[in-house]
Symmetry: D2
Subunit: 342 residues, 4 copies
Amino acid sequence: MTVKVAVAGATGYAGGELLRLLLTHPDVSIGALTAASSAGTPLGQLQPQLVPLADRVVAETSAETLAGHDVVFLALPHGHSGELAARLGDDVLVVDMGADHRLGEAADWQRWYGSEHSGVWPYGLPELPGARERLRGSRRVAVPGCFPTGGSLALAPAYGAGLAEPDVTIVAVTGTSGAGRSLKPHLLGSEVMGSASAYGVGGAHRHTPEFTQNLSAVAGRPVTVSFTPVLAPMPRGILTTASAPLAAGADAAAVRDAYEKAYADEPFVRLLPEGQWPTTAATVGSNTVLLQVTVDPDAGRLVVVAAIDNLTKGTAGGAVQSMNLALGLPETTGLPMVGVAP
Amino acid sequence: MTVKVAVAGATGYAGGELLRLLLTHPDVSIGALTAASSAGTPLGQLQPQLVPLADRVVAETSAETLAGHDVVFLALPHGHSGELAARLGDDVLVVDMGADHRLGEAADWQRWYGSEHSGVWPYGLPELPGARERLRGSRRVAVPGCFPTGGSLALAPAYGAGLAEPDVTIVAVTGTSGAGRSLKPHLLGSEVMGSASAYGVGGAHRHTPEFTQNLSAVAGRPVTVSFTPVLAPMPRGILTTASAPLAAGADAAAVRDAYEKAYADEPFVRLLPEGQWPTTAATVGSNTVLLQVTVDPDAGRLVVVAAIDNLTKGTAGGAVQSMNLALGLPETTGLPMVGVAP
Amino acid sequence: MTVKVAVAGATGYAGGELLRLLLTHPDVSIGALTAASSAGTPLGQLQPQLVPLADRVVAETSAETLAGHDVVFLALPHGHSGELAARLGDDVLVVDMGADHRLGEAADWQRWYGSEHSGVWPYGLPELPGARERLRGSRRVAVPGCFPTGGSLALAPAYGAGLAEPDVTIVAVTGTSGAGRSLKPHLLGSEVMGSASAYGVGGAHRHTPEFTQNLSAVAGRPVTVSFTPVLAPMPRGILTTASAPLAAGADAAAVRDAYEKAYADEPFVRLLPEGQWPTTAATVGSNTVLLQVTVDPDAGRLVVVAAIDNLTKGTAGGAVQSMNLALGLPETTGLPMVGVAP
Amino acid sequence: MTVKVAVAGATGYAGGELLRLLLTHPDVSIGALTAASSAGTPLGQLQPQLVPLADRVVAETSAETLAGHDVVFLALPHGHSGELAARLGDDVLVVDMGADHRLGEAADWQRWYGSEHSGVWPYGLPELPGARERLRGSRRVAVPGCFPTGGSLALAPAYGAGLAEPDVTIVAVTGTSGAGRSLKPHLLGSEVMGSASAYGVGGAHRHTPEFTQNLSAVAGRPVTVSFTPVLAPMPRGILTTASAPLAAGADAAAVRDAYEKAYADEPFVRLLPEGQWPTTAATVGSNTVLLQVTVDPDAGRLVVVAAIDNLTKGTAGGAVQSMNLALGLPETTGLPMVGVAP
């Protein structure tokens, strides 16, 4: 089987990473590459790493240029994918790498994005309970946010097994590519190198309701999330540190057991041997999640650390993984499991 | 007044930063520079940035080489300063930049360091309640750990005003110089660049009891601290993110008010205007703490972010600040307030 | 003596570094701070490291706002300083940190900048032969480009002593702050971190005629310069590597001797002991040049490596050094000689 | 066909990168993984990015552990591969990633390494004239040094077409992984981040004779090389800038033509469109060389810039490319052409 794939938003970081993966995917042929402002430019000028696509000319993003493909990936600013998807046909697999279809509650969308909700699609984090089943055969996929990918996988086993109180603190250290190729002063190399800074503090980051939604679903009751993203001087990677009070009766052995069981058969999640802690470098360019969990006996808390590549497992790799499921392909097809390190 | 100063541990990162500051301190003349393994080497080979001291030859660290100075700074591995200080005379100001004399409880020392406690000295964080008074005229100073410097200043106003529950989560993102010039694989440039990683997770880091001690003292009751340090690819800087549940009745206005009052007259702590968040880059090479606080209404938590330079305010600058107090000099003498940025 | 100083371009990187230095300069009081597009903003929002100036509001750059000062620093895009200076009065010391008044030949200016030449001012690199004398008492100073600062100091002794053929190759590795706070995609942190790239290759960089002018003047005959700048993932610093064929009869001893003599009394240039090579880190935030020279016997070439901080000695520090000379102050006043490292 | 492959030196950076590539090579099964000092350790502790090999235990490097494989890669310190290879049998393909068998002249080896020469093997840079033919079917391969890979490909077309005088200047900016996982102070993250530095200046670097050998062979006459490596704060990548005086009669058109012809059919070398310059980031993790050439009319020089990943095309990728040729496989098998960027 070869499916013909179009990528809207091919000139951004997420689009570039997606194309890197698609170029070695055995069941894919790459069709239209579109963008908003760079139409007419050879892709090699914007994505010099994509050597085999260097001479491809970027087209304008529109329902017309995206028509005639089996799969369409949308790497667009939020608010743009709902209408576009509606014009692509129900038999086309549309994988939305933006935020539009992640939140189940219209009120959440309204509060955090201030526009009309365009509905919820099957959530592309197959490792969450029930998600894999909803993705199989689906023709619509909402790729998770990069932070919720790391944070949800870090905590789902604890809440699935009832081992933690529903009051989570997540601090996630992220590379700069998560912000995309935005021309903002605080993203200049001179500003980020040698510096760490927090943003969206105090519950202001738009990924907060996605955390809450995912963890509450697993826990079966409302989970409160205090989320602080920290920008660090690295191009890629998210290191999520998450902690929550241990539930009464829970202990280190039960915690370890829950995590081992949850991820024993997951091809992309590796619970490290006890005593070894994840580094984001080991995940660069791979779809792997490296994870470790421990219990702080003095503080009475469970502490988890998870490393992902925000552009791979956190965005484009997760998108391909879901595409594989939707198309009935083996889930790991075309997805690197090995990081580019050092 | 000119005091003659010796530095034991002059070849490490903390010693180098201290000498940088002392070179422009108007009341100091620099005497003996000593080290353990590099005795006999010109300092310029090990600290090429200290141009005016390049031809100074490093001496062996001993009571003899350190004798005859008004002030002796000890930047030594833990366990070495107690005995050395005893041989230096009670009239010599001894400023210990190591861990030996920070903890008040011998049992804490025993648990975390596994050796005999050498006693507690006045704690060199003048901004904590009561500390400044104890430092004035003292002949012994225990310089705080770099993490507790940031974390204690981040939370002291909240606990001093009774605005937070005693269950703190601190995640501190640190540059690599905090680990010193240790030849360990995980500190190699190839490993740290492009990577974030956590260590000492689950309450294993030795700065944990120092946090607990400081915050409990301010709160007047036991405060539990869950502390996770994260190594980030930058040479300097600590970004501390700290959060705790709001106490009953506390609100954003009370929190802001407490922080404004606490730091209104502190020359080295700047509470940023609302909406502006600290970056570590802005503190590089300076003794300044940049700080912001907010309330997360959904999570019911107070969240504080503080940026310091781990080598300056976090170590050598804090040491000079305490020296100034101990010697009766204006507290800000010789201390930069402006960061080297970008 | 206290001189009142204005800074036009206070919100850029060069302006910020200049203010950092001026804040601790004992003979300076800081007056108007102006900029083009950020007028009305408190400086602390744009230069958070300049804590003591955080509440100063940025004014519009104009002859009016800059009037009434003893010294005016212009950190403006090229083409703007000539006209502005003309309106400031001949008794005001105007220090131009831009390119407008560096080149002696109108034809060179025309070729490289494509506009009318606004004339040449005394060149602010006191270490070049004759420069110091021209700067003393001058009321106009042209601060050199950051690359020509490093490259000219690297090679002047060789050409002054007739030890090298007039065919130079310079490759200079620079940090990103040399490009200023420009919002260009290739300056984003995501693009520069983990990457090295060349630009302005083949003689296309506008600093090329400045190299040629400086070295030809020292050599007393035309010197040809092949210049390649390389952007490296660091915020500050220029490492200049320069080489040229040895002149007939020149040898390593003569080369060493020439460099030792040239810089023996220069407070800001340190020829390192043989065998030690400069690092840019050791110069961060300081006005020091670290330099080493050797002879490649197989290639028959002289090779020099020089490290500077592009914002300090390469721009703002050099500007203050020249201001000191122009005002009759000791040349080193207010200038750090010690780098912030690691 | 599946060949069984052993890797001696599996715990270093070159070995890790090699295993990353071999894991997705369709014709390879991975056998013994050996090292000198880490025998007995699970590979996952040393190479956490190699998730599928995490539980493999490292064996001791010896002829015995390496026996019984079709291909043996040697990533060893120099001086160790000659004797080991002799014990592996003539029918085993031995790919030496160290320096031992690169130099043709015993006197060169003796001068630069100070030990006995162990002979020369077919040189694993297929893009050089004649090299591909010598590699086909060979059972011994000498993988080039990382610097000579970039520099030789940068200049071979010019010398092959007689367009440049034989007096080359090469300055190559390298990431830190080229130095391996050596515990040396100048390789610590705290030292390299934010810093650039030169080393082996003046013809002292051991890759110098390899440059000379390669370029002289292409030119058909002795070529002199002035080589300066510069360490930059990035884990991977080499940006080579090379220049030489234009030969009489050569011009920009002839130069462009020579480079286009030389690399028209090379799968791993991409001459960029005129005006676009290579970045190392675009080559990370790929076997691609990105290259641009121009002529500096004022300096009368040809200037070339080439970007590679030192661990991929510069070491492990080049080794696999040569293995493919030696085994009669398609040359590009298992080799990524797309970089991991940003």
